[in-house]
């Protein structure tokens, strides 16, 4: 039987995966709760009211929405909501570079944050009406008699089923079902005159399907449960989940009609999650690197250098490189990325020169691995802090 971690290490691991790591101010509270209690608290925090928006919102300033979200990740309550929103943002990858309306991107994020743990079919139905998404995948160009297949295709290929689990016909017919699903300025608008109300056959089901019917049909397919299970496991659990792990989680999704909260509970409570093979098995994305470094040192505000830094590491929030989202795992470790990760460590250490012990406590559960302990020996102050943050172990979660 694989060795399992317990106690403080288990709580630390959970908070790294279901959030961005503990901060010194909440470490004690979570540890007192123990693993099961900590998980309950994280799931309860989903129900917390959403933080209010900043009073003035410059709709044309993309930097602002990045700053706002990073700040929430660093110091907001309900780390799991933010982490899950980050997962969904990468999943339903929409880029402001095309939309050019930060306000619409912000609304999409808020929707994902608020409903990210609901049932998946409901989330997809909401996303199908999200104005940023409508514009991103050319919903307004999809009309009766001149269908635009973009949304119908990406919905099936990237959002719900994966390649090989739908046919070109399914795409064509689904596109017809979404005709008329458009937007006017910042609002979703269904225009009946543009809608093809005729009979369609999608995944073997015949009917005068609307977009909602398509969502219902595709999200109830076994392929969808497996597809979603694998994605959740790869983001929260392990880069190469085993077939039986995927099957088990898919079964939970099927049983609960796609309830994400239940799926996450099952995932985190799985015995394998606490196994040695799952410890520090995931490479932190650039956002996780900066946010976890700030949380571990007790930082509360996102510094201005964070934006350029994220860009150099290859992850600009609200601007994924394509509808496929961001790469994962060792793909983050590019040459520019590695140089930048060292620089991030130095910059944070400059702002928080004596945070080394704190970092060892919250980011390493007070049990630094031997390799790390060795390299820190004899170092003090900012050098010690920077070394801890630049370490290979800190790049993993």
């Amino acid at each position: 039987m694989e060795q399992r971690i317990t106690g403080r290490a288990a709580v630390g691991h959970l908070l790294r995966r279901a959030g961005f790591g503990v901060s010194p101010s909440d470490a004690e509270a979570y540890r007192k709760l123990g693993f099961a209690g900590a998980l309950d608290r994280l799931l309860d925090e989903f129900d917390l009211e959403q933080p209010k928006d900043a009073p003035t919102f410059d709709a044309y300033e993309p930097g602002l929405i990045q700053q706002l979200w990073l700040d929430r990740m660093v110091r907001g309550r309900s780390a799991l909501s933010e982490k899950l929103a980050l997962f969904w943002h990468g999943h339903f990858a929409t880029s402001n570079r095309k939309i050019r309306e930060p306000l619409l991107m912000w609304r999409q994020y808020k929707m994902l944050r608020q409903h990210g743990a609901d049932r998946f079919p409901e989330l997809v139905a909401r996303m199908s009406r999200d104005v940023a998404m409508v514009r991103w995948l050319d919903g307004n160009a999809n009309r009766k008699g001149q269908p635009n297949e973009n949304y119908a295709r990406e919905l099936q290929e990237l959002f719900t089923l994966g390649i090989g689990n739908y046919t070109e016909n399914d795409v064509r017919e689904a596109a017809r079902a979404f005709t008329g699903w458009g937007s006017r300025r910042h609002a979703f608008v269904f225009t009946k005159a543009f809608h093809d109300a005729g009979e369609k056959t999608v995944h073997g089901q015949k009917g005068p399907h609307t977009g909602d019917d398509i969502v219902r049909i595709v999200t109830s397919l076994p392929a969808c449960h497996a597809f979603l299970a694998r994605k959740l496991l790869r983001f929260f659990s392990h880069p190469r989940p085993r077939a039986n792990e995927v099957a088990e989680l898919a079964a939970v999704l099927k049983r609960t009609k796609g309830d994400i909260r239940s799926a996450l509970f099952f995932l985190f409570r799985s015995p394998r999650f606490l196994g040695a093979a799952h410890q520090r098995a995931l490479v932190k994305s650039p956002v996780e690197v900066i946010v976890s470094a700030l949380r571990a040192t007790g930082g509360i505000k996102t510094p201005l250098w964070a934006h350029g830094s994220l860009e150099r590491m290859g992850q600009i929030l609200f601007q994924p490189p394509s509808v496929k989202g961001w790469p994962a795992g060792t793909a983050w470790l590019t040459s520019a990325g590695m140089v930048e990760r060292v620089r991030v460590a130095q910059r944070v250490a400059r702002s928080f020169p004596d945070a080394a012990e704190q970092i060892i406590d919250v980011a390493f559960d007070n049990e630094p691995p031997t390799t790390l302990a060795k390299t820190l020996a004899g170092l003090e102050g900012p050098e010690r802090t920077a070394r801890a943050l630049a370490s290979p172990e800190f790049q993993l979660c």
Partner: protein, 386 residues
Amino acid sequence: MLNRREFLTRGLSYGSLLMLPRVSWAAGDKKQPGHRTLVLLHLRGGNDGLNTVIPYNDPLYRVLRPGIGIGENQIRKIDKNVGLHPAMGGFESLWKRERLAIVQGVGYPLPNYSHFRATEIYYSGEPEKTPSSGWMGRALEARPSERPLRAVAIEKEKPLSLASSAPGIVSLTNFKQFQLPKEARESIAMYKEFLALGGERAAVAKRALEAFKVAEKIASLRPVRGSFYGSLGQDLSKVLALLQTDLDLEVICLSLNGFDTHANQGPQHNGLLAQLSNNLRAYQDLLERQGLGDRVCTFVFSEFGRRATENLSGGTDHGSAYPAFVLGKGVKPGLYGEAPSLENLDNNNLRYTTDFRRIYGGLLKGCLGLDPKPILGDHAPLELLA
């Protein structure tokens, strides 16, 4: 120019950093046959092709362009039908030396007139779908390789054309940005320890160490001096620095801004074409003097051409078909394709006669030895390379 000895001695001065695991930049690539480096230059904004490669014998040219049309006696004639814009002395010289192929009427069905979307189309090579990978990104995936550095974009951000699951793709604006901070030395030592742990840890460490090595390599480069000027000149000096090393890159991307000439086109277009033509000529000359002529092929394209009819502001609006250029010693020179008709216009726009994917196919075949079909679909490649 940095010869092999200079490179090695300069490299050794980086001391302990070189105790990184040995990396074979190119030589170890037994899997793939040799290739030519493909340099892709995007003229951003939509180049006015009709004033670049000018059908001087067609009376309709003067009808469409009464104001901004180029005077016949200024046109640099290259054959009995077409000639180059007067500012393109450099390209005329390349044409005479048989280093230039001009592909006429480049475009694709149902052209898009948005900079953003048209660029996506050219970068993905897939006009019919939402892009998620680049045509060169897919090419790199089709040629698996162990090299830690395969493609470079002289851009702030990695362009969609290089979007790929293959590693070894970098974007940079200057070499110095890769300079390893001195703390990197310690980082590298930590990753070497990590490597010794084996398993998953070793995979992470290996990737990280390779990345540091690539950064170190890039930071050691210096732009090449030559008769270059302007932003294109600066970028080409960096391209040359990359081409002169033993990196043996497969593709390098760069772009030149400013071609969106909606108003008072004359002076702007003049300056841009001069910058394009003079710098590329100097670059090609330098490449050949260093014996690299057979190793590089350069492709110049735009996201669209401009409208055949001029507008009322002395300029042109977004259009479709335009001429693309392929430069190099191994290129089969001459005019390719059919000049678009000036009579049979599509709502004042030129109709394309050569699908751009045919050029891409010819480049994938001739430079990288790839079958273009799985990457671009069924478009007969133009045999551009010898």
